[in-house]
Every structure is written in structure tokens, then in C-alpha cells.
């Protein structure tokens, strides 16, 4: 008879903590196994014998000693929530120092690159050979149909193409 699978269930069986399924398995096994029946009885005896081990009571001064140690502990105060933890205090101090440093810095320089851009465009348009008289043709409707591409400037875009790509671009938004 194979007692191995049942062996671990014998203690839960004896202490009454086995579930119904485990209990059924053990009971079925015990019906056919005299050795395990004897073992279960011996476990029950051991269980009873262990009750003979006397319990101790804490000594007389136990509570007094504990209260003295508790009194020496730092107590939480009603304003304790205002006392920052070291990490929080360090983070706050760092944030304040960073803010002060940024506010003391000179104001940011204007973006000359951006301000130069219209002048550059103006110059480019002015230099076009077809625009002999810029003041006259500046309001000329046909100008809007002129390609803005400057030869040798691959980064520039074609307005005609832009016009075609516009719906596509907005479609993806």
C-alpha cells in the first residue's frame, strides 16, 4: 500500500484542519492501512502530551519596562504633519534654490534668427529678376502663382505642391 501521498495529510487530519476532501481520502486510506491507523493514534497522543508543557507568565516588571521604553520613543505630535521628512525637505529646498537661480538669470535674448527670417525673405523676393519694380508688382495677383523655390535650395517647398498636400496633411490630424 502506498502511504506516501497520505502522509502529509495525517497531521491536518489529526488536528481537524483537513478539508472534507482530504478528510475523505485519509479515512478511506485508514480503513485499509493498520500502520497509518496506529500512527494517527500516536500523533493524537503526542498532541496531548505537548499540552503538558507548562506555559510561563511574563515577569512582574514586564509591562513597566515596556512602558518605559515606549515613553522613550519619539511621540507623534498634532503638528507632526507639518514636520517634513528629510527627503521632502531636501527636495523642497532644491526646488526653491533652482527657482531662485532661474529668476536671477538675465532675461532670455530675443531670437535674432527668427527676426531675420522676414528680412531674408524680403531680400530674396527683391532680388528676383522678374520683379523689376517690386513696389508695383507686390500686389500683382500673378505673383501668388510664382514658384517660391530658389534654385539650389532643396529645402524650399513648392506652393503648388503645398496646396496639394494640405488636405492630406489635415486629414491625418
Amino acid at each position: 500500500m502506498n502511504c506516501e501521498p497520505i502522509s502529509k495529510l495525517l497531521i491536518p487530519f489529526v488536528d481537524g484542519r483537513a478539508d472534507m476532501k482530504e478528510r475523505g481520502r485519509v479515512e478511506n486510506h485508514l480503513q485499509d492501512c493498520a500502520a497509518c491507523r496506529a500512527r494517527v493514534e500516536q500523533y493524537r497522543t503526542v498532541w496531548t502530551i505537548l499540552d503538558e508543557q507548562p506555559a510561563v507568565e511574563p515577569s512582574f516588571g514586564f509591562d513597566a519596562r515596556l512602558r518605559a521604553r515606549m515613553a522613550a520613543e519619539p511621540r507623534s505630535r498634532w503638528f507632526g504633519w507639518m514636520v517634513p521628512s528629510p527627503r521632502l525637505a531636501f527636495s523642497t529646498a532644491l526646488l526653491i534654490a533652482l527657482s531662485a537661480w532661474i529668476s536671477m538669470m538675465p532675461p532670455a535674448q530675443p531670437n535674432y534668427q527668427a527676426s531675420l527670417q522676414p528680412e531674408k525673405e524680403f531680400q530674396m523676393i527683391k532680388d528676383l529678376r522678374v520683379l523689376e519694380n517690386y513696389d508695383v508688382v507686390s500686389d500683382f495677383d500673378a505673383l501668388s502663382e510664382m514658384p517660391a523655390t530658389v534654385p539650389g535650395d532643396p529645402g524650399a517647398t513648392n506652393p503648388a505642391n503645398d496646396g496639394q498636400q494640405q488636405p492630406q496633411g489635415t486629414g491625418t490630424m
Binding site: M1, K8, D15, R17, A35, R39, Y43, L66
Partner: protein
Amino acid sequence: MLEVKAGDEASFELLLQRYRTPVVNFLNRMVRNQATAEDLAQEVFLRVYRSREKYAPSAKFTTWLFRIATNLALNSIRDYRHHQLDVSIDVSADEDEGRTFELRAREKNIDQQMLENDRATAIRRAVDALPDKQRAAVLLHKYEEMDYAQISKVLDCTESALKSLLFRAYETLRVQLAPLAGFAAAQTAAGVPLPVSELGKGRTS
């Protein structure tokens, strides 16, 4: 414990009154010395008191309490053994068998006022002779009457591992306490408890 967390000192007093004796008894059976057990028990309650504001009711309070107690006891036993080993190495370099020192230390800590043939002493010796984790499992199972789920959380193991642990512990106790119980426990010639699997061999149902 939630009332203690809210700052109710009277509730902590109630916890202390309710659990100090079980904790002291558990630690006394673990470390085999009442003075040490009481020191450790005080440390347990101080840790509970210190961490009351961080307490999260994710586990039963008793599980948390006895987990602290078990860890403190196991650390204390380990430190004591290291100390004993250091002392014994200093005393005699020839005696280098750890088991010898361990047994001597154990004998020294078992209540020396009791007689050798005292039944209570014999029971205590049998429990003391169990490996630390098996002893903790038996104490929580037998004396604190915890269920398997709780004990496995205290000892940080699976329920299956706990059942194996308890089976081995009670099997050892069954053999060791056989003279007191008046039965002849089945065991091998070397005194090692016979595995249950061996008992059924050769038998037919």
C-alpha cells in the same frame, strides 16, 4: 490595531494585555530562556508601536505580530550560536565540532533546576531538539492554534512546504516522546523515524 493606528493608546494597551503572554511563551519556547524571551517580546511590541502608523490591514494582526516575533527569535538563536561558536573556538581549538557546542549550549539553557527524569523536561527537550523552523511551525500550530495559511505567511513558505515541515516535526516528536506515551514508535535501527512510505510496504489491503 486600526484604533492603535489612529493614535488610541488605550487600544495598544488592550493589544498588549491580550498578546503579551502568548508572545512571551512562544519566544520562551523558541529561545529556551525566559529573560531573553521577555527582552525579545518587548522588542516585538516596540516594533508594533513604532510602525502603528504604517500598519496596513492586509494580513491578520496575529500573523504580523508572530512574524515579527519569529524573525526576532530566529535572529537571536543565530546570533547566540555564532557567539557560542566564537567562545568555544577561543577556549579550545581542538573542539571544532559545532554539534558538540550546540548540544552543550542547549543543555545549558534548558531549565537547570528541573530534574532529568522530569516529564515536562523530557517534553521540552524533545521540542527543543527540533530544527528551528520545525520548532516554530509546531509552536504556532500547536500552542497558538494558527491555521495553515497563517503559519505559512509567518514562516514565509507555501502551505505544502509547511505541511511537510509539520509532518517531519511531529514524526520526530512521535519517536522522541514514544517512551512517555507508552507506545513503541516505528523507527529504523539508527533511531531515525521510519518514513510513512516504508510502513505500508509489504502489506496488502
